[in-house]
Amino acid sequence: MNRKLLLVILVAFSTAYFAGCSSNPKHLSIAISTPPPASIAPGASVQIAATETGTTASIDWTCTPGNSAATCGSFSPTPTTSGQTTMYTAPPTAVGAVTITATSEAKGLAPVSVNITIQTNQGIAGAFAFYVTGLDVGQSTYSVAGAVLINADGTLTGEQDYNNGFDISSPANGDTITSGALSIGADGSGTLTLVTDNNAVGVGGTETFSVNFVNNSHALIIQADGSATSSGSLDLQTLPSTLASNFAFALTGVGPAGFTVTEGGVFTITGGTAISGTVDVNDATAATDPSLGNAFTGSATPADTFGRGTITITTDSAQIGNTLSYYVIGPEAIRLVVTAPGVTQASPAITAAGSAFGQGTGTFSNASIGNSVFIDQANAGGDIFAAVGQIVPTGGAFTGIADNNETAFSGMFVDAAAISGTYSIASNGYGSLSINPATLLDVTTFGVYMVDPAINVNDPNNTSGGGGALIVDLDASLAGVGVLVPQTDAATTSFAGNYALGLQDLIPTTAASGEVDFVGNAVATATLAGSGTLSDPRDLFGLGTVDTATFSAPITPDTTNTAGRSEINPFTVTVNGNGVPVTIPDMANAYQASGAQLFWIEDGADGQSSVFGGQLQATSTLGAAAAKKVKKP
């Protein structure tokens, strides 16, 4: 190396050395050694620490904005020594983003900062629509749909329509939800409390739901307050929304004569108000039922600020109901509930609820259905059953594998049965599917109503998992509703990770009948282990009306049938409440649309007198970062 080059290197090295010393004298440094979590609730406290190198100078703690307990939080103690923790207490309100800064008193050492978000309920807030269907403590099938505006601090207001078709309903303009609160933990589970101006609903006008958020825009919910039990969904609204033109819909409930009713079809909204469509009805009464392909007309009013509007049926109202309320989730997703203002025991009315989903801009054909999984389930007012399975179409025919549990009445069930049949889809998405008789017991006929391939019928704000159809069971001896969704991943190895899960368990025994609903979360590995809330308003378990339930069950993939089918067996559930825990030796089987969406039903082989059906939905991390990815109202 020549001397000139050596000199250049020495000069460059010296320049870099002294430049570094200007901001980091004597090789000093400071770092946040115990960082806070990404977000915490208002008023919550966490420990944080900073550690210095090359100095023992005190460390001062400050925050922005405002550097006060009210605006960004407080520290105790401050200053600290290197490595010593300080307790950071968040401000009492959900102020959002806060920057915490640790400043060494060592001269010339640059401060270090960390960001934290101060938010309630993992940042979940905004306008949400909800609906549930189930059975109240008086053994009336009932429906509720509504909308709430959840503030950043979890408080809320809203409106709803409640109808049990027998002696409890909302007035024509709905109930006002005057106050309430959402309260959830980091795992997405918690409660939604609605204080209404209708003393007949819930407990003295207050309804309590247990919720389990799947993501920032969607939660599985059950009513769990002793007055009633039901399962449904809570979904972020896009408001205002201009409704799409073409919809598929399905409703489940009980008719005015006290018999179960399920109905579904397609309709078109013209000019934003005029409705015309086709409906299939299975109302369990007339010998001519199911009644297929009935034309109906009606009109819709614009939605209000909560996304609530009404639909008046002008023809065929005898089957559908005179009026319905709808609650907007978005342009292509609305919840529907049949209303019955002033209903009395002397003049029962239909109660039913469900969903309508847009059909997009395309037309449909038999090719619109690919490999799919389905779930089909009765409501508590009907002959209890649940079926789940996979279909593999070829043109207008299909083969598949399915499970059906009809044990509640007849003791019959079938697991992993080979099924086959035919189906037909018209260009407007109205269709039907026939399963060859005696392969899936009494389940032989579905009405099929296709939805937009971009719409996830189980999580309408989810941009993946879309397509498929709403289905209605149109059998002579069974009535149910469900969904048919594309199966995009049948690999059972994808059934892994964190899930929110729910089930609606119908118990039709003569001595102690009713319904219990469960919502919770679980981790799927080689086992499905989790816990949650169980609503039991008729106290069938003798442990109180709201219990907790835990389970840990092995998951065994069905390796013979490559249908995305897994057996969850034994699915032993322990119910805890006010008394000695009750252990229920259930069995369950699940079919997956993908690793993110599965349907499961109780396996009739467990010998229980009940039948449950429900969903497992993969959860994502909740919080401010996630919230940015979903639509805002």
């Binding site: 053994q139 006290g258 069938l540 013979t560």
Partner: protein
Amino acid sequence: MKRLYPGLGALVLLAFFSLAAPGYAQTAAATTKPTVPLRYDVSKEVTLSGTVHSVPQKSSSGLTPDAFLMLQTKSGLINGKVTPFTLNGKGSISITQGEQIQATGMMMTLQGKQVFVIRTLVVGGRTYQIRSERGFPREHPGAYVTTGSRGGQL
């Protein structure tokens, strides 16, 4: 790992397989289906009269297997199957032990038992339809009578 009980593993395995019956194959279709699915058939209805031998009672805790409205008839004791709403909830029907009733329904074999599936009941001079002609249960059957007027225990 030191094996303390070398024969224990085999015993456990033996016990497992002994107790696992009726272990239908993991991936095989398991079924209890009859060759023809059971449906309520109004054309096969019969009407019988009898005395209520016993009324299903709710147990103190936990779920119970389905129980029957036991009817003492001239031909013997009958397992009468009513609906979940017949004896439970608002608009249920009050039926007491020793009461004379008339029931219309059809005999079916359910879960291995001969059962009289009841569609209508005459109790205390009132007629209640508890199922539709297609066999579906009716909510609040006491709120309806077959003539269209209402009665019963509300």
